[in-house]
């Protein structure tokens, strides 16, 4: 799976792509372990281009979220829509995950928090 990285005012923007399923979940987890090792303390995960997620994908997100909490890294999920939104709502995780509507809102929140 492809991941696009951008840096905006010290905030790491991660744009996830296409499908997060059984075959990509582990890669994503390992990828984030590397990101967590770096010095970034504020991360925005953008789901705009994600078309599909399955339970393994949700598992990977849970892992990423838990790990970020442990390392006191601020992380926000944005632009969740379509089938991804449906899956997250179905698994009742919409209040559990740190979700905001748009990337701008996320950047603002993280900026203001500093």
């Amino acid at each position: 799976m492809e991941v696009k990285l951008k840096n905006k005012n010290g905030i790491l923007l991660v744009e996830l792509q296409e499908e997060i399923d059984l075959f990509h979940a582990n890669k994503l987890k390992l990828y984030f372990n590397k990101i967590f090792e770096s010095s970034h303390k504020r991360i925005v995960l953008n789901f705009q281009d994600v078309t599909y997620i399955d339970s393994s994908g949700i598992g990977a997100l849970l892992n990423i979220f838990k790990e970020s909490k442990k390392r006191e890294i601020k992380i926000l999920f944005t632009n969740i829509h379509g089938s991804v939104k449906k899956v997250i709502e179905l698994t009742k995780l919409d209040d559990y995950f740190p979700i905001v509507r748009t990337q701008e809102e996320a950047l603002e929140q993280l900026g203001a928090a500093e």
Binding site: L22, A25, K29, D54, S55, S56, I58, G59, A60, L62, N63, K66, L90, T91, K92, L93, Y96
Partner: protein, 648 residues
């Protein structure tokens, strides 16, 4: 005017007062018998009805006869109630004849010669004597000869006193005509049922509290146990060490005096002593000289294996049947263990260990004092433990073979094998008629688990559907954990949300968070039509109402299993009317894809469900399967599919 006079007479009369007491008793009995599962209460439920009936008759036509006849019937109900606890069929029949025969003869005589009240006096004497005989029968009840005797033992004296006081007081006025008899003496006869119904409430409430406390303690240890075994999987510890751990756990939780694990030696078909906890004499005859010293008994047992098929333990292993001998002296099968002090065993449980589809060995625990005997509950818990050990040993065994051969692709098959073993076993016909289930693992993925559990003899059942994220052996092991917890707690609580919280508490913090699970748990009681539902972020429950052919969706709050230890789960209740159908499914069903890459979708599933509403659960299931097959065509199945239909 006569009616008015009658009504005002009635409401100012003593019958009115007694009817109210009887009605209160009736309501209490109904409520308490619904609240708990009280054994043998059906007869007792008739008593308040009888009391109400007799007061109603007395309001129109008062004669002492109806009181004496109904009192005799009530005493007979008591006698047969006691008989269902501890069999005294002959004595009970004799007493029934005496009570009914003498009472009937005497009251008939009274009806013909109402001026001779001595007959009524004699009825009272007869009943008082028989009440005393009933008390003697109750006193024969003890924990050694009767299951669930606790209630009778605690309350027999008070029940007797109330019965006798009610009876003796009638000696003051056997014709029951005086105001004194009407207002005080007759209501006295209702003291005994009021007392025992109150006691039932107290007794079963405390039993339930104890049970729940024990359960939560027990569960915590079980969870640790599971975790230890889980680590054993990854650290490749020896089978013997796992067995020792299993042994200790079982001895501890059944409060047994000793326990052993015997492993099967397939070369000469024997069972060899592998682990031992406490002093455990062998189940076979020993040479006299050996049997006198505990130490020589132990050495002898270590060196003399049991042949498969010989002794109660060998037989249980050979036939692959779990065994409970509650009382060895009464049972008679263990002659070698009831005479000598050193050989004495009072109660025994033996449960075969199944690994790789054959008997791998047998676990057995014993009590050695007369005062302590195993209960059905001990037996059930033992079974859950051993079954869990079997399932994990099974995976341990397969896994270690796998690691040796480095055949990682086979892991998936093993997971599939484990999963097959989790599926519900044979079920009673009425449950098979009510619930139909179908589960199809996709290649490379296995994460669905479902189960149908009978909760009581009256046909109450629990249905669970669960989807564990991820695949392979680790996911299967989580299913094994979930299954074990459900089987342990489902029977001991009426509350569906409690079962789900217990599952969550057992899993959360002990697994990788990415192996979370979504799960729905329902219970259904066909006798009351009550359905309970609790959901851990699985698809909502779909109910198709027969009345208007509409779909009703029920959902309840709660996070997936395994995220937060303290997650709260909501409980929803509803009634199913005859013909209502319930559907549970996993993602794989609605995400089934056709060659064009389109998904089956929830809407289509519901349409097919509705259009087959009038069929049986099995036919509905088949119709949906056919429709999915038709839709998918040649496309490859990419996720597990599980579908359950239940019809009230």
């Amino acid at each position: 005017m006569q009616i008015v006079a009658f009504v005002s007479d009635f409401f100012s009369g003593p019958e009115w007062f007694r009817i109210i007491i009887a009605l209160i008793l009736l309501a209490m009995t109904q409520q308490i018998s619904k609240k708990y599962e009280i054994p043998y209460i059906n007869g007792l439920k008739r008593i308040p009805q009888l009391l109400v009936l007799r007061e109603l008759i007395a309001a129109f036509y008062f004669t002492p006869t109806i009181y004496y006849i109904s009192d005799a019937i009530i005493l007979v109900i008591y006698l047969w109630w006691l008989n269902s606890y501890s069999e005294h069929r002959k004595t009970t029949t004799t007493y029934t004849i005496i009570v009914i025969g003498i009472t009937a003869a005497l009251v008939t005589a009274y009806e013909f010669f109402p001026e001779v009240t001595l007959t009524l006096f004699a009825v009272n004497v007869n009943l008082a004597v028989m009440i005393t005989m009933f008390y003697f029968l109750m006193n024969e009840v003890s924990v050694y000869n009767t299951d669930q005797a606790g209630y009778i033992i605690t309350n027999r004296t008070m029940i007797f006193i109330f019965m006798l006081v009610g009876r003796l007081s009638l000696f003051f006025d056997p014709t029951l005509q005086s105001v004194w008899a009407q207002y005080i003496l007759l209501p006295f006869s209702m003291l005994a049922p009021i007392y025992y119904i109150f006691q039932y409430d107290i007794y079963f409430y405390s039993l339930q509290v104890d049970n729940e406390e024990f359960n939560s303690q027990y569960l915590n240890s079980l969870f640790d146990f599971m975790q230890t075994i889980g680590t054993a999987m990854t650290e490749r510890i020896e089978v013997k060490a796992v067995l020792e751990y299993v042994m200790q756990a079982i001895v501890q939780y059944t409060d047994a005096e000793a326990g052993i694990v015997l492993l099967r030696d397939t070369d000469d078909e024997t069972l060899r002593l592998t682990c031992r906890e406490g002093y455990f004499p062998p189940p076979y005859e020993l040479p006299q000289i050996v049997a006198t010293r505990i130490q020589s008994v132990e050495t002898y047992f270590e060196n003399t294996p049991i042949k498969m098929g010989q002794t109660v333990i060998g037989e249980a292993a050979k036939n692959n049947e779990a065994l409970l001998i509650r009382n060895t002296v009464e049972d008679g099968r263990m002659k070698a263990n009831i005479r000598e002090n050193t050989m004495y065993i009072s109660s025994l449980i033996a449960i075969p260990l199944m690994v790789n589809n054959e008997v791998f060995g047998i676990v057995s625990v014993i009590h050695r004092t007369k005062r302590q005997l195993f209960t059905e509950l001990d037996y059930e818990r033992c079974k859950v433990f051993v079954e869990y050990a079997s399932l994990t040993l099974d995976s341990l065994y397969n896994y270690s073979q796998l690691l040796e051969k480095q055949e990682i692709e086979r892991e998936v098959n093993i997971a599939g094998e484990i999963q097959k073993k989790l599926l519900p076993g044979r079920m009673p016909k009425r449950i098979r008629d009510m619930v139909s289930a179908w589960s199809q693992p996709a290649k490379g993925v296995s994460g669905d688990y479902y189960d149908i559990i009978t909760l009581n003899r009256a046909g109450k059942l629990a249905v669970v559907i669960c989807d564990v994220a991820g695949k392979g052996v680790p996911a299967s092991l989580i299913m094994v954990m979930i299954r074990t917890i459900i089987h342990l707690v489902a029977g001991s609580t009426q509350d569906a949300s409690k079962v789900v919280s217990w599952i969550n508490r057992g899993i959360a913090g002990r697994i990788d968070i990415e192996r979370f699970a979504t799960l729905s748990y329902i219970t259904f009681d066909p006798n009351t039509n009550a359905l309970e539902y609790s959901n851990a972020a699985h698809h909502p429950l779909v109910i198709l109402r027969a009345e208007d052919g509409r779909i009703e969706k029920i959902d309840s709050e709660g996070l997936p299993i395994g995220l937060e230890r303290e997650a709260k789960y909501e409980r929803k209740t509803t009634k199913l009317n005859p013909g209502d159908a319930v559907m549970l499914y996993t993602d794989g069903i609605i995400e089934a894809m056709n060659p064009a890459g389109e998904q089956y979708e929830e809407e289509r599933l519901q349409e097919v469900f509705i259009s087959n509403a009038r069929k049986t659960s099995d036919e509905i299931l088949k119709a949906i399967r056919n429709d999915i097959d038709g839709f998918v065509g040649s496309a490859k199945q990419h996720d597990d599919q599980t579908l359950i239909i239940m019809k009230a």
